[in-house]
């Protein structure tokens, strides 16, 4: 409840800022810049004698400057569709304030996360940091556009379980703390983009330590549309239920240029 109020207050506070020069972007997820750069995907899965199944991975964010060295982001995301079991679907909302603190970027996030049936809902306040760029380590910079660049994030979060059914009550206790690390990798060639995002959590309760890997390869076909191959494996909040998935589908991205 406390975190929910914090989310509402953050959104109310953000509204006047987002009225100035906002940028709207649509992508795969808002968990990282590279994930946001990948297209949102909608996949139809057809099998003989079975109903048509779908997967949807999409995020929309609105961003605006705050002062000269910071910015504010409002976002919503869904990893859903009937091909995913209810406990493996994820719905989220985000209010993020970030600021350059040379030589790093520091981000303060308020996240809402829920499963498909809204049986488990959590609010998390987290602080995370990444270096702006270290060319010698390829952090943020792929020399001359050739090869791979990557970006690490380290963070800590405090959250509340806003709602949980009896079977999911012990995943994380109310008033939980999570430590997490994320590495995002990117590779571009001839318009095609490949990204990989690996996240690890050290959480309380039965969630314990968990890892989640997500990758996508997109080839643009024009007007913001792409052919996308994507995959995911591992356990992620809010339920930390394991699973693996591979798919090929149509994607769409809006870069707000």
């Amino acid at each position: 409840m406390r975190t929910a109020l914090l989310v509402l207050l953050a959104i109310a506070g953000a509204a006047p800022v987002l009225a100035q020069a906002p940028t709207v972007r649509i992508g795969h997820s808002y968990t990282s810049e590279r994930a946001l750069g990948q297209p949102a995907t909608f996949v139809l899965v057809a099998e003989q004698d079975r109903p048509l199944l779908t997967t949807l991975d999409a995020a929309v964010v609105v961003r605006a400057p705050i002062g000269r060295v910071g910015g504010l982001t409002l976002g919503a995301r869904a990893a859903a569709g009937s091909a995913r079991a209810s406990e493996k679907r994820v719905f989220g909302a985000l209010v993020r304030y970030w600021r350059v603190v040379n030589p790093a970027v520091v981000s303060l996030d308020v996240d809402y996360e829920a499963d498909g049936g809204l049986d488990v809902q959590k609010g998390v306040l987290s602080l995370q940091v990444t270096p702006i760029g270290v060319p010698s380590l390829r952090i943020g910079y792929a020399r001359g556009g050739a090869g791979v660049s990557w970006r690490p994030w380290l963070g800590i979060g405090y959250g509340n379980v806003l709602s949980a059914d009896a079977s999911a009550a012990g995943i994380e206790p109310d008033g939980f703390v999570r430590v997490f690390g994320r590495a995002e990798l990117g590779y571009r060639r001839a318009g095609a983009a490949a990204t990989l995002e690996a996240t690890g959590w050290l959480a309380q309760g039965s969630a314990g330590s968990a890892g989640y890997l997500k990758g996508a390869l997109s080839v643009p076909i024009g007007s913001g549309f792409s052919i996308v191959a994507s995959g995911e494996a591992g356990r992620q909040p809010p339920r930390f239920v394991g699973g693996r998935r591979l798919g090929v589908g149509l994607g769409y991205s809006l870069r707000g240029e």
């Binding site: 000269r68 350059v100 702006i132 760029g133």
Partner: protein, 93 residues
């Protein structure tokens, strides 16, 4: 046409372009100097969007303009975009 930066120094658009290209080259080790022009995109240089924030400090020190960080991330896709932003922040001389 000339414009003034925040410290009163006057610039032509060609001088701003040359200085912006010099800054971008210094932040792009391993890239041939001839490869960077106003048309060069940061994606082609291999910069991710957070890496573009490394532009803030040298632009402030050498062109005496404070770039808005979120605009640099979202709107500045090429060296020419950066030149246009710096030029727009300067005042008519």
């Amino acid at each position: 046409m000339r414009r003034k930066d925040d410290e009163g120094k006057e610039w032509t658009v060609d001088e701003v372009t040359a200085e912006v290209i010099a800054i971008v080259r210094e932040l792009s080790p391993g890239v041939g100097s001839a490869a960077t022009t106003a048309r060069t995109t940061f994606a082609k240089l291999g910069w991710d969007s957070w890496y573009r924030l490394r532009l803030l400090k040298p632009v402030r020190k050498r062109l005496h303009e404070r770039l808005p960080a979120q605009i640099v991330m979202d709107k500045v896709r090429s060296v020419g975009d950066l030149r246009d932003l710096v030029w727009a922040l300067m005042e008519d001389a």
